[in-house]
Symmetry: C2
Subunit: 345 residues, 2 copies
């Protein structure tokens, strides 16, 4: 591995994109932006939080006095079910198409102050089964059901009450289509799902594993772009949420708790990230090449207030990282599995 200490590139086989790795660069002094450390002590309930139980939302409806998770239609949805068809002329330089769909909000629990790692295993299992039932429902109508969470102000989250979102639509998104093409191409060549082969390599090599159980494997992928990026993959032949059994759901709750606890403990803060699920397209196509997985994209690099900026070079050329995937996995393995806040409770 000696030559991996020099600048090199690694290729993401799911997207076909390369990442520039400059492991020597993490030592440079940082005089740039320092983020504001936002780890407020939140109250367990907030009168004016539109996600808390019994509070009235923008549309005049009051939330129910919910006990576990609660799902509602986004009052400011980016997608609408009945938007008009685009009738613009065919032009390969100005291609447009209408986009019909819906957007929902998933409150993880009634508690305003509990993020995923702070929920009990039982509560986390409720989150997983809500994702599953939402996916089951929405994939009847929509080919592409994007379940995701933006965690923390740094990731554009505009409501502190812990929640995720689901945006669903008929078309396949750019990323899902790209991953579909690459997984299908691999299957054609090797007769095996790309991610099935990939997780075997990771289990062999061990160096990038962060967490594992019977049904799930979490690694800092070989091609990670974000400093502490994680790829979470189903170990069984599961292409989407509808195929998960109860044991797989329970194991998913367990590994989610461990991943997010390690994240929070790394810099002793509510570790911001965007995460989301890539389910196989619900188009009726043969999905044997696809494996259900989630990506975690966290921005922090060196501390609770210094993040990696994906800017000029990254936007115009390709992602660049300052520490190796192996080093990041090692740092995540080293921290405790007891959440840093637990001691104070």
């Amino acid at each position: 591995m000696k030559n991996f200490e020099f600048p090199h590139r690694r290729r993401n086989p799911l997207s076909g994109e390369w990442v520039l790795v400059s492991p020597h660069r993490n030592n440079r002094p940082w005089k740039g932006a320092v983020e504001h450390h936002s780890d407020p002590d939140l109250p367990s309930f907030k009168q004016d939080c539109p996600l808390c139980p019994k509070v009235e939302r923008a549309n005049g409806e009051a939330n129910p006095d919910y006990a576990n998770t609660f799902v509602f239609n986004n009052d400011f949805a980016a997608l609408l079910p009945d938007s008009e068809e685009i009738t613009s002329a065919e032009d390969d330089l100005m291609q447009a198409e209408s986009a019909q769909g819906c957007a929902r909000v998933v409150c993880f629990s009634p508690r305003h102050d509990k993020t995923l790692p702070e929920l009990t295993l039982h509560e986390l299992t409720q989150v997983v089964s809500t994702w599953k039932s939402q996916y089951q429902e929405l994939s009847q109508d929509y080919a592409c059901v994007q379940i995701f969470e933006n965690k923390g102000e740094m990731m554009g989250c505009s409501q502190p009450h812990p929640h995720g979102q689901i945006w669903a639509h008929h078309h396949l998104s750019t990323e899902v289509e790209r991953e579909d093409v690459h997984q299908a191409g691999y299957y054609l060549q090797h007769g095996r799902p790309l991610l099935a082969d990939y997780i075997e390599r990771e289990l062999d090599q061990q160096s990038r594993i962060v967490e594992q159980n019977e049904n799930w494997l979490a690694v800092v992928p070989f091609w990670a772009a974000w400093p502490f990026e994680i790829l979470l993959v189903a170990r069984a032949e599961v292409a989407d949420f509808t195929q998960l059994n109860q044991v797989q759901e329970r194991d998913l709750a367990a590994i989610l708790k461990n991943i997010t606890t390690r994240y929070d403990n790394l810099f002793r803060c509510r570790f911001p990230y965007s995460m989301g699920w890539h389910n196989a397209p619900a188009t009726g196509q043969d999905n044997r090449h696809w494996r259900l997985h989630a990506h975690f994209y966290p921005p922090l690099l060196r501390s609770a207030t210094i993040k990696k900026h994906m800017v000029g070079y990254e936007m115009l050329a390709e992602s660049q990282r300052d520490l190796s995937a192996e080093k990041a996995a090692e740092l995540l393995r080293q921290v405790s599995l007891t959440h840093y806040k637990e001691k104070h409770d």
Copy 2:
């Protein structure tokens, strides 16, 4: 255009990526992160700024007492000229290759306090000819010479002294390769460069034009992802910086001044962005399909302190925007061409 008021998608023909446009969504209330308004009154010279004339840098060298632009090797380069060859086994799930190259810093002027729109036309012409001569030199050795600027702390800029960077390497970056494939494909089909045809459409339609002169056209492209994104295209048959003549250089300085002045005047702040040039690959290949262009990716959405976050949905699915490209171009056309700070000088 009525149906463009509903959610729809537009396709970027340079990258093949789609963008979700939700024009109705800009009205939603914003309770998320508010950026810190960083528009400090900078001194014209700073003793401890490693980019100011005569100051000693990290490596012990003192900067010359330069008068126009000044270029030096990045003391913390992400690329090194003599990194070792990767000898790892061929594996299509863990592909890696060595990356040799160099990274330079381009100080735009000796003045610590003058950003691009605040430079004179003469000074801006110096910046353009520095880009050109650097490109000429580096493209002898490297196939891919990425010239860019990260402006503002929000864009990860770690030195307030106005400057850009150049990262050059043998391999083609992911983005340049992608644009090369799409432009070559279009040329094969139509016998004309993609961007040549595209700017004709824009000149016909007018609605997305921000600035133009004899040699350059600046538009908010039909497929813009960032709220006030700009695509700046050479109108003549120019594939890279080596082919620019003096009139084209002077016209480039002029349009740069106008673009960046409009940006600053929009929210009366030093408008942050990442910008950079896409030159044709310097591989010796036939580049008739390629047209020299720059992308400006600015994050601000509603004010000097509220930005667009490209997060969960955007990272996992595709970019999403909250106002139309046409509206953004209109807003940029409406502001003055006199820089808001000029009056106070």
